[in-house]
């Protein structure tokens, strides 16, 4: 494969990623390419796409920090199932789930779901991270304005008013808005430009998925929690050697 073709196929994979249609293999491939060449055309294109996507969503424009792809990639790499449960895994065969003595409902959030997990959590607006060092006793003041995002762009007065929403037709799995929302540190009055670490994003993704599933089991909201969960299909049936293949992944 020539370098030009390879670049083109990377761009295609990037588009797929932005559309939420990238396979796990494509996600890894794009991330790797960006880690290898953080200032390359691919990384720049991603940054531009983020800007365009943010503008479409009327979000505050926020450039994707250099190195973010690297940290996400590292988090994925660390997410091998054997590391999920400390001290386990050596005794079981490669195809076994080494965490077999975990509660069953914990399993789906292992390695297989990670590529999707990154995409899944990407639509989180992480708004307030006080950035207090661990162990400090004072809580970061919670800005009163930080509330759940409403579907419409302008708040409605209280009362019975259901406005027309402004939705983009993209999937919940689309990593199109990988834009952490950072609010100023209230105490210092200084804007802290902090990127939520990928470990945090993965944790949030997990607890939200677990919460959605438990909500579904309580039955108080019918099928709604499943819609919220935006589940990813387990990757168990994907051949591991797929990662070794050196051909462009097929687009659906």
């Amino acid at each position: 494969m020539t370098r030009g073709n390879e670049q083109e196929s990377l761009f295609e994979s990037l588009s797929a990623l932005m559309d939420g249609e990238a396979s796990e293999f494509e996600v890894r491939r794009v991330l790797k390419a960006m880690v290898d060449d953080p200032d390359g055309e691919l990384a720049q294109r991603w940054s531009r796409m983020q800007l365009a996507s943010g503008a479409m969503a009327r979000d505050a424009v926020c450039r994707v920090p250099a190195g973010l792809a690297g940290s996400i990639s590292a988090a994925i790499a660390e997410e091998a199932p054997d590391t999920g449960a400390a001290g386990r895994g050596a005794s079981s065969g490669p195809s076994d789930n080494p965490a077999s003595n975990d509660p069953t409902w914990w399993r789906p959030f292992g390695r297989g779901a990670v590529a999707a997990a990154v995409a899944f959590v990407a639509i989180l607006g992480v708004r307030e991270f006080g950035g207090q060092p661990a162990g400090t006793s004072d809580l970061a003041a919670a800005p009163a304005s930080a509330v759940q995002q409403t579907v419409q762009s302008t708040p409605q007065p209280t009362g019975f008013a259901i406005p027309t929403p402004t939705a983009r037709l993209v999937s919940a799995g689309a990593p199109a808005i990988l834009q952490p929302r950072i609010v100023p540190d209230q105490s210092a009055g200084v804007v802290q430009r902090r990127t939520p670490p990928p470990e945090l994003m993965l944790h949030l993704n997990r607890v939200m998925a677990q919460h959605a599933e438990q909500s579904a089991l309580t039955g108080t909201q019918g099928l709604l929690p499943y819609a919220r969960a935006g589940y990813s299909a387990p990757e168990a049936n994907k051949a591991p050697q797929q990662e070794q293949e050196d051909k462009a992944p097929e687009r659906r």
């Binding site: 409403t150 409605q156 929690p225 935006g230 387990p234």
Partner: protein
């Protein structure tokens, strides 16, 4: 016509102010509301259907195909996500499971709304009619009485009581998420329609017992009306689930990880995750409160986690 509708809505708050203090059903027509809630409860635990649903939150629109059938004492559901990467969930919920109200009855979808205790937490208002998925619906607004839960606007199918649209409403009256049918086919569902299309489908069931026995953690404050309905052991901690019959939140207390040394909140649509830290004895823990609840409530909850017994 418009004038009469307008005046009806405009006068409603005045009317409500007049009867303020009247307990239980602060609604224009309590009998009608109760009848609707009963029909809702019965519809969701007995009807078979297939349909197309849109789910919208935080500027995102997802489309889902849902199939549902009640047979052999279990609720069978299949959710096929039609946008984004192909995903599918197949769920089998035994109606004999006592998750929601341990010891008091079987699992019932939306059963929380038929529990009389819900009237202490929410007011119910009839809001006329609307057409959803080519069907006539009755609009029911469920408005919280305090700031520890969100409101819901439900469109219930006039014929069956099935909720065809559900909108979660924030404190400022803004829409946080919307779940809405665009197409509904009522009637018997074939086994094929309930079978997963792909081998990668995710399977969910409630065969594991709900445990309510006291765990390592307790809450020194719980918002009015929320009850603990299950507790799960995690590999690195514990998870507790609470509901007021409508809203649900979960509390995770997990062994401290330095990379998660954050206090703060994250949002996805109507779901908030509040992260806090907890010191108990010599050990530190990460506390995460997740739910479709106001973020300030989530923060207060995270701050009220205490050990229920010494290490």
């Amino acid at each position: 016509m418009i004038r009469s509708v307008l005046s009806r809505y405009l006068w409603a708050p005045v009317f409500l102010l007049t009867v303020a203090g009247a307990p239980a059903h602060s609604t224009e027509d309590p009998e009608r509301v109760d009848e609707l809630l009963k029909r809702l409860g019965s519809a969701v635990s007995s009807l078979d259907y297939e349909g197309l649903v849109t789910f919208e939150h935080a500027g995102m629109l997802d489309t889902l195909r849902v199939v549902r059938a009640v047979k052999d004492g279990a609720l069978h559901e299949r959710i096929h996500y039609m946008s984004g990467s192909p995903r599918e969930v197949v769920s089998t919920l035994s109606l004999a499971n006592h998750c929601l109200a341990p010891g008091s009855g079987p699992l019932m979808m939306w059963s929380g709304v038929t529990d009389p205790r819900i009237h202490a937490l929410y007011d119910f208002y009839l809001r006329g009619q609307a057409r959803i998925a080519d069907r006539d619906t009755v609009v029911l607004e469920v408005r919280p009485k305090d700031n520890d839960r969100f409101g819901v606007v439900l469109n219930l199918d006039a014929e069956t009581g099935l909720p065809l649209k559900s909108v979660l409403v924030g404190a400022d009256g803004g829409m946080l998420e919307r779940y809405q049918f665009v197409d509904l086919k009522l009637g018997a569902v074939s086994s094929e329609a309930l079978s997963p299309e792909t081998a990668a489908a995710r399977h969910v069931d409630n065969s594991s017992e709900c445990t309510l026995e006291a765990g390592r953690w307790a809450l020194k404050w719980t918002p009015a009306g929320y009850r603990k309905i299950s507790r799960k052991q995690l590999p690195d901690g514990e998870m507790m689930v609470f509901t007021d019959g409508l809203a649900v939140f979960s509390i995770f207390v997990q062994s401290y990880r330095p990379e998660l040394a954050f206090r703060g909140r994250a949002f996805r649509g109507a779901t908030v995750a509040y992260m806090g830290l907890l010191q108990a004895g010599a050990k530190r823990y990460n506390v995460t409160v997740v739910g479709e609840i106001p973020d300030n409530t989530a923060k207060k909850l995270a701050d009220s986690v205490v050990p229920s017994r010494p290490e």
